[in-house]
């Protein structure tokens, strides 16, 4: 008799119905030698994260190219979970991703997938360490479209487009949107690198969304340059440091 915890709980994430059907067929064939249960199926990265918030999942079979949130971005959010599931990437052809996976030692399966390869990958999840957040970040070639906040074991996605500014505080970064604040465990320097198109550094501890700058104010308090950014919507004033003073000129 199998003990419940020995059964691998699997989530299939792929935007194409035939691809999901194929994986179901293959997983059925693996069942004899690798006890498993298919928990659910997702059609994109967002649905996959929703399932993970709801269900306990041990292995995610994650397609790379999906609408909304693609597999690469979903994996980066998943890797931030306290107890992340194992991820097995699947892809038909994606020369960039494949090269990046090889370099960063991340496991993947090429579609069409053979049952032997799938079984080997499933078995590997038992022993091999999960790809680290760093490895996934390195493998990704484009910035995320969301930041993930982990609250009470659940993933909340904050669209980057809604973020007004990011401010470093001790070991966390505060993410400010029009409605509320979130805390994320990321480094401001890394965020600056990833989102350099949309955000600009105004202070050692602060990145402001370019779209959220409504203006600049002179003679601001607590500002060594005398300037402060006025944030669109909330009207908050963020000090501009002397080193970043050039930003003021750039925007005026």
């Amino acid at each position: 008799m199998l003990v419940e915890k020995d059964v691998a709980r699997i989530l299939i994430a792929d935007d194409e119905a035939p691809a999901r059907a194929r994986l179901r067929d293959l997983l059925d064939e693996c069942r004899a030698s690798f006890p498993l249960a298919i928990v659910d199926e997702a059609r994109n990265g967002r649905e996959a994260l929703e399932v993970l918030n709801r269900e306990k999942v041990g292995i995610v079979l994650l397609d790379i190219r999906m609408p909304e949130i693609d597999g690469m971005e979903a994996a980066r959010h998943i890797a931030g979970m306290p107890e992340p599931p194992s991820i097995i990437f699947t892809t038909a052809f994606d020369s960039y991703a494949i090269k990046a996976f090889e370099v960063n030692a991340i496991d993947y399966l090429l579609k069409p997938i053979r049952v032997e390869r799938l079984l080997a990958a499933l078995n590997k999840t038992r022993a091999a360490p999960r790809p680290s957040r760093e490895a996934l970040d390195a493998a990704a070639n484009q910035p995320r479209r969301h930041l993930s906040v982990h609250e009470r074991g659940k993933i909340i996605l904050v669209p980057l487009a809604e973020v007004l500014y990011l401010r470093a505080e001790l070991k966390y970064v505060t993410v400010r949107t029009a409605d509320r604040e979130f805390l994320v465990e990321e480094s401001l320097t890394r965020l600056e690198e990833e989102f350099s198109d949309a955000f600009v550094r105004v202070h050692r501890n602060c990145l402001v969304a370019r779209a959220a700058i409504s203006g600049f104010e002179r003679n601001a308090e607590d500002s060594d340059s005398g300037w402060a950014v006025v944030v669109k919507g909330t009207g908050e004033k963020l000090p501009v440091s002397r080193r970043q003073h050039h930003v003021v000129k750039q925007f005026r």
Partner: protein, 344 residues
């Protein structure tokens, strides 16, 4: 055949080099430009003083222009005969014809046109033959310069055209059908085979537009296998001239682009609208697809568009046009090519 116009053979030995199609607007313009440049150069050399250059050019143009225009008209009319007798024979015929027309005009004009410097008939005839040689030599070089591009474009076509992504995803979709819906799997493999038959073929000659439309339909059938209800397609082919000849693989890459950039990145999918119609003396092909917000236009798209543009240029010179635009959140690409009926 006229439909191949300025496209020369890939054969580098020259045996396959053909005369340009003098009915093509681009060829006419290029001939006018080359001859008038030569006349202008001659005027500069012959003029006794800089002030006299313009007058010199006018006098030469007054004689040269009628010869040139008459030549183009006759070469256009006689293109099928010239094409049939082979390149060397055609060159000889053209040389004799040019001498004749030059002589005729020389006789006719000598009574009222004071020929500058009193050039003899031999001199004028020699100049005329020289210009013919330069024009034909120019088109010969141009055809040679462009013909390796045909081969290269074809190879590039194979790589850029069918994205490996599409091939493997389609095979994966067929695999998923084999157990449950063997009939649909068979159908899909047949479509895939037809598609690859065209892709692997030598695609240097024109093909009926009906084949192109059929190919695009088979391609879309395969894509809808994977994408299901996300992919909606509307065809407008009511006024399509079924006998029109077009370069092969002109429509399918555009349809593939539309699916890849317009449908796949969107959760809800969207509609692709394809119009193939007769538009006065031309064939119009127009394709629109939605443009999901966050997609970046990748290099793949540009490559396919550039590829088609290059092939249109090779087949039709200046007579085909291709444009693309983004309007109301939809991407639209429009191609207009001369209407050449089969067997014309």
């Amino acid at each position: 055949m006229a439909k191949c116009g300025a496209v020369a053979s890939i054969n580098q030995t020259g045996a396959g080099i053909r005369l340009p199609n003098f009915c093509n607007l681009g060829v006419m313009l290029r001939s006018l430009l080359v001859v008038n440049s030569l006349l202008a150069a001659a005027a500069v050399v012959r003029a006794p003083s800089p002030d006299a250059i313009w007058l010199e050019f006018l006098v030469m143009a007054a004689f040269g222009e009628p010869v040139l225009i008459a030549s183009i008209v006759v070469l256009c009319a006689a293109r099928r005969f010239l094409g049939a007798i082979g390149y060397p024979a055609a060159i000889a015929v053209i040389a004799v014809f040019e001498l004749a027309i030059t002589g005729l005009l020389f006789q006719a004009s000598s009574s009222f046109l004071p020929f500058p410097g009193g050039m003899t008939f031999a001199q004028v005839a020699l100049a005329s033959l020289f210009m013919v040689a330069v024009v034909l030599g120019y088109f010969d070089l141009r055809a040679r310069a462009l013909s390796p591009a045909v081969a290269e474009a074809r190879i590039q076509a194979l790589q850029a055209r069918i994205r490996p992504h599409f091939l493997y995803n389609s095979i994966n979709a067929v695999l998923s059908l084999i157990r449950t819906e063997p009939r649909r799997a068979e159908r899909a493999l047949e479509d895939l085979a037809d598609l690859f038959r065209v892709l692997m073929a030598e695609n240097r000659t024109l093909a009926p537009i009906g084949n192109e439309v059929e190919l695009a339909r088979q391609y879309l059938a395969l894509e809808s296998l994977r994408l299901g209800e996300r992919l909606k397609v509307t065809w407008h082919t009511e006024t399509m001239p079924a006998d029109a000849m077009v370069p092969p693989l002109i429509l399918q890459p555009l349809v593939e682009n539309a699916v890849y950039h317009g449908i796949e990145p969107s959760e809800a999918g969207g509609e692709i609208v394809i119009v193939v119609a007769r538009d006065a003396g031309r064939v119009l092909m127009e394709l629109t697809n939605p443009l999901p917000g966050a997609t970046k236009r990748t290099a793949g798209n540009r490559m396919a568009i550039d590829n088609i543009r290059e092939r249109l240029q090779l087949h039709y010179d200046a007579e085909a046009s291709m444009s693309s635009e983004v309007r109301d959140g939809r991407y639209r690409v429009t191609i207009r090519i001369p209407y050449l009926a089969a067997g014309a």
